[in-house]
Amino acid sequence: MSSQNGVSRRAMMVKLGLLFNGIVGTFLAVPIVRYLLSPVTREKKSAYESWLSLGALEKFPAGQTRLATYRNPVVNSWDGETGDIACWVRNVDDQDFQIFAINCAHLGCPVRWFPQSNLFMCPCHGGAYYQDGSRASGPPERGLFQYPYKIEQGTLLIKAGEMPTPGRAANTTHGGTTWA
């Protein structure tokens, strides 16, 4: 056996070895990427949103806007208080309601309701909204996000479960007033 042959055989081994590792690596990459992308693909979760009770209608007097809280439908046992979400419930006239997300449509800070001036104000960057959730002033480009609601047996139900953000408000704009 010439040394020339030995060298080329060893070079071949290196190439084969690299190819083999490449194949195994690709094989490994598939589950790793799927694991990393699980919050996007949501294979194990049917849906983030579901109908939740905010309690009896008596808690929300007509013509008033009240703070309500609910436990997020998708939570882990170690989520603690972060699984409790607040929202604003506006009882327009006992027939119509508006359920506003707590998150400002600008950058998600918690808006506060001022019944005296009938405004929602945001403490972060100064956004303000009218009582119907439409934009009044400040940096927000649209009105407050709204959750779909229904009333069953004297209980107010809303469809919620995902934090609304300016880029993914599709499911929370029910009846929403967008500002252009």
Binding site: P39, N72, N76, W78, D84, C122, S137, P139, P166
Partner: protein, 492 residues
């Protein structure tokens, strides 16, 4: 032969590190670089090592769980001996590290250190700045309080605005539908594994290049960098006129690092740890979230940008900034190094410093935010109600009750979202006041639906009294013309 020397030789026979280490320590450097201007890089590294040590110490207690993180921080602050001190060291070490990295960057920029052949050293340095800021941001989330919770919300809202992939980016960032345990866990992984790993790797490459290429020489006006001749010129500076790095230059590095460590300890003892603030309970909405010091300028920018320009500037601005920094050594790889011959470079630094300083100052005072409790905690100054009619005083009450004070200041008290109203009657006539209150505009909500006609009348009556006693109120000149009274003719 002493015992220590014998043990040392035993190890060196096996490790064989003594000679290369000595050679590295004593490598020749240009004489003028043994200067107090050349100490910031090593000081940044010292801060980083302190962060590693204190970070590991904190990890002994800290629980990266949304339900428990805040409690474990309280335990660190109150129940563990000197836990507060370790937290304070880590927090202040972080601030010092960001500050020193920025100073280091300004120094090497003004000294032209990014020019040939140190382009890659600068580029790695830019990545080091980014990962350092990444550590500061993810670290703020480890302090899992209200600011961290709503800060994540702000991050998610910005990420969601990325075209097409925005919603996916939010899901990836939060690891779930809401800000909760999954979000904290992934930022914990970033803060203790991923970003520090990158930081260590970049620091290694950065240092290696400083050793291989040599420290940047002291820039002399007129000594111009040319690719063809620079290496030879630098060789002469180091090998003919240079001095060994140790002990001639390293002394200032060691002294300054010690001084920085002492300053961090002093701040930690005097000011104590940062927070945690309120519990990360999103149902507690009486909060005004605010980022840490080094992100306050961004907080101000987000408030002051016009709404329509915000998304493009937010998404494109950082990319442009990073590209400019990365392209700098390729655009200006040759030429003058001395700041004395580079006025644009000096002006750029001054401009950025003034802009960031102003924005940070604004971020600390948040003049754009309504003062949420001014209507109930800041009374109308007595001189504005003294001797007024009943209607005007009724207007002052409405001014408080309708939260006007949250956005408008009187006698420097109250919000600064809208203009101060101490002399509003000089600027607006009665008709203009009514119109502004009812219709709003210019970033003021319309109050037409929220005020009865009687309330509006009283409020405007009060606003009409807000002017210095010796100055005439605003008047509508065209009205006088229309009525033919001739009063509108301008008097000299």
């Amino acid at each position: 032969m002493g015992l220590i020397q014998r043990v040392g030789e035993w190890f060196d026979l096996r490790l064989q590190l003594g000679a290369p280490l000595r050679e590295t320590a004593e490598h020749p450097v240009p004489r003028e670089t043994a200067s107090w201007f050349y100490v910031f890089g090593s000081a940044a590294l010292t801060c980083f090592m302190l962060q590693i040590v204190t970070g590991i110490l904190l990890a002994l207690i800290y629980v990266p769980s949304a339900g428990e993180a805040w409690n474990s921080l309280q335990t660190l602050n109150h129940d563990i001996s000197l836990g507060w001190f370790i937290r304070a060291l880590h927090g202040w070490g972080s601030n010092f590290m960001v500050a020193i990295v920025l100073i280091h960057m300004v120094q090497v920029f003004l000294f032209g250190a990014y020019k040939f052949p140190r382009e890659l050293t600068w580029i790695v340095g830019v990545f080091l700045l980014l990962v350092t800021l990444g550590m500061a941001f993810t670290g703020q989330i480890m302090r899992f309080d209200q600011d961290a919770y709503w800060g994540l919300g702000i991050g998610a809202s910005i990420a969601s605005r990325v075209p097409v992939v925005g919603p996916w980016a939010v899901s990836l960032m939060l690891g779930g539908p809401i800000i909760a345990g999954a979000a904290l866990s992934r930022f914990f992984a970033l803060h203790v594994f991923v970003v520090p790993g990158l930081l260590i790797a970049f620091v290694g490459v950065h240092l290696l290049m400083v050793l291989k290429l040599g420290i940047n020489e002291w820039p002399m006006p007129g000594r111009v960098v040319r690719r063809a001749t620079y290496m030879q010129e630098y060789r002469e500076l180091t090998h003919k006129q240079g001095i060994p790095f140790a002990p001639n230059a390293v002394g200032k590095d060691i002294l300054f690092s010690g001084f920085i460590l002492l300053a961090i300890v002093a701040c930690a003892i005097h000011f104590g740890p940062f927070g945690p603030g309120g519990k990360p309970d999103p149902t507690i909405i009486q909060t005004a979230p605010r980022p840490d010091f080094f992100f306050l300028w961004l907080y101000a920018l987000l408030s002051l940008l016009p709404p329509s320009a915000e998304t493009p500037i937010l998404l494109i601005g950082p990319a442009v900034g990073i590209i400019v920094l990365l392209a700098l050594p390729f655009v200006a790889g040759e030429g003058e190094k001395s700041w004395k011959r580079r006025p644009i470079a000096v002006l750029t630094i001054l401009l950025i410093a003034v802009a960031l300083g102003t924005m940070t100052h604004l971020g600390q005072h948040t003049p754009w935010s309504p003062v949420m409790n001014a209507w109930s905690s800041e009374p109308i100054p007595s001189q504005y109600v003294h001797g007024r009619t009943a209607l005007e005083r009724r207007g002052a009450l409405i001014f408080q009750a309708k939260q006007c004070h949250n956005c408008h200041s009187l006698d420097d008290r109250g919000g600064q979202r809208g203009p101060a109203l101490d002399s509003v009657a000089l600027r607006l006539t009665e008709d203009q006041l009514i119109r502004q209150v009812i219709q709003g505009g210019g970033n003021m909500p319309a109050y037409g639906k929220n005020l009865s006609p009687a309330e509006t009348t009283a409020l405007v009556a009060f606003l009409k009294t807000l002017r210095p006693a010796n100055q005439a109120p605003a008047r509508d000149a065209s009205r006088a013309v229309a009525l033919g009274t001739g009063e509108s003719v301008a008097r000299p």
